[in-house]
Symmetry: C2
Subunit: 238 residues, 2 copies
């Protein structure tokens, strides 16, 4: 039995961050841009689009903006980014289709097989700032075997608000320590840990592409450090 | 292409009522009672438990009771019903376990195969008053292939409040007429129809057991009338 914390309660639920942890948003957007705008630097474009993400959510978290789905935040960032890459004339229908690339992201190579192994022993859910429709479309296309898709949209709070991490435990009627957040982002894991969740860091060195040096150094603050979901399954005895 | 309504927009999403429509709550509870309390009339017990369901939700819908999950409503009804069947002395741990029988309900015989056929062409979600944890545990155990589990818990409104039906369309970013509610209950379907959803009635004559005559007569108000999910798949060309 995998137990966490001093009370030694069994771990029951693995909650996964999605963008960057389960799916390779950067590589998927680079591939999409290569297909629709071959002259554009897809690497820089992907990172520019993603850079607008945290500031946009911060406006919702602060209350400056009412509840707004990621699909809509992605779209307003996209509209701001396109002209910087010489794509300001992109027609509405193409913008709409490009914006939905976030529904069509490809998983990291070992992710699906790893999730199946982990599912043999734990219940798996998402805990993503992505909206429910986005996550459902992604899971269908990539065959991600979630037991439950949970999103900031359910809790009407974006991570790292505590309502999201504690919300997972409430939904499954378990203690926070019986939930492990699996994420490639240390800030996400720190916030989960502050709420009493167990934590597993997954090293995704290439999350922002080959040109960006991403910090994947082990941090003893987290319960586990894994190179991927196969390694995580090994460590969790699945 | 399956289209609905005068605008002829394609049908995209099938939203399923769950208790009675997908799973046989009555038969599952009868089987559970036969195992744990063989002297009790499981048929009557199951219906007594279920009878408390609508009044309990009505208290939440009216605002008399704050948001309360079905697990907790089921438990308070159970506590009231047990003494009427000579089971008032049931210990806490057993009550807790029995209450979770709603997480362990068996699907109707043709349901899982029918869902797989329907999934080949449509995105499938639940739209149930059951809470998210309950629906996730049920889906895992019975291998129900939902693309997304939606619940009253997401919308903080119980069916038949319009927020639930319209909420499905909003989550998937489609028009209400692109969502079809599949349900064994005419009141549920009428409320969905009032919100502009397409509707499919599924005849589950034995929902309340062999002794209760359940109205499964065709109603021309609904778009489809099906004997089960296999028949529904036939009618929808899956």
């Amino acid at each position: 039995m995998v137990t966490t914390g001093p009370g030694s309660v069994p771990l029951e639920i693995l909650a996964f961050d999605v963008f960057g942890t389960v799916v390779d948003w950067h590589g998927s957007i680079v591939a999409e841009m290569a297909a629709i705008a071959p002259g554009v630097d897809g690497d820089a474009f992907a990172n520019a689009w993603r850079e607008g993400y945290q500031p946009a959510m911060a406006r919702v978290r602060s209350g400056e903006l009412g509840w707004t789905r990621i699909d809509d935040l992605h779209r307003s960032i996209l509209d701001a980014v396109l002209p910087r890459f010489g794509l300001g004339a992109m027609p509405e229908a193409e913008r709409r289709r490009l914006n939905l690339v976030w529904h069509r992201l490809d998983p990291w190579p070992e992710a699906v097989a790893g999730l199946h192994r982990l599912k043999s022993r734990f219940r798996l859910c998402t805990l993503s700032n992505g909206n429910l429709g986005l996550l459902a479309n992604m899971a269908r296309r990539a065959a991600l075997p979630w037991d439950l898709i949970l999103s900031a949209e359910v809790f009407r709070h974006y991570k790292p608000d505590p309502q999201t991490y504690l919300g997972v435990a409430e939904v499954f009627d378990v203690a926070p320590s019986q939930v492990m957040l699996v994420a490639a982002h240390k800030s996400d894991l720190r916030a989960a840990k502050d709420c009493g969740l167990a934590t597993a860091f997954v090293a995704r060195a290439a999350e922002y592409g080959a040109k960006v040096r991403n910090d994947v150094s082990p941090d003893p603050a987290f319960d586990l450090h894994a190179s991927g979901f196969d390694d995580l399954a090994d460590q969790l005895g699945c």
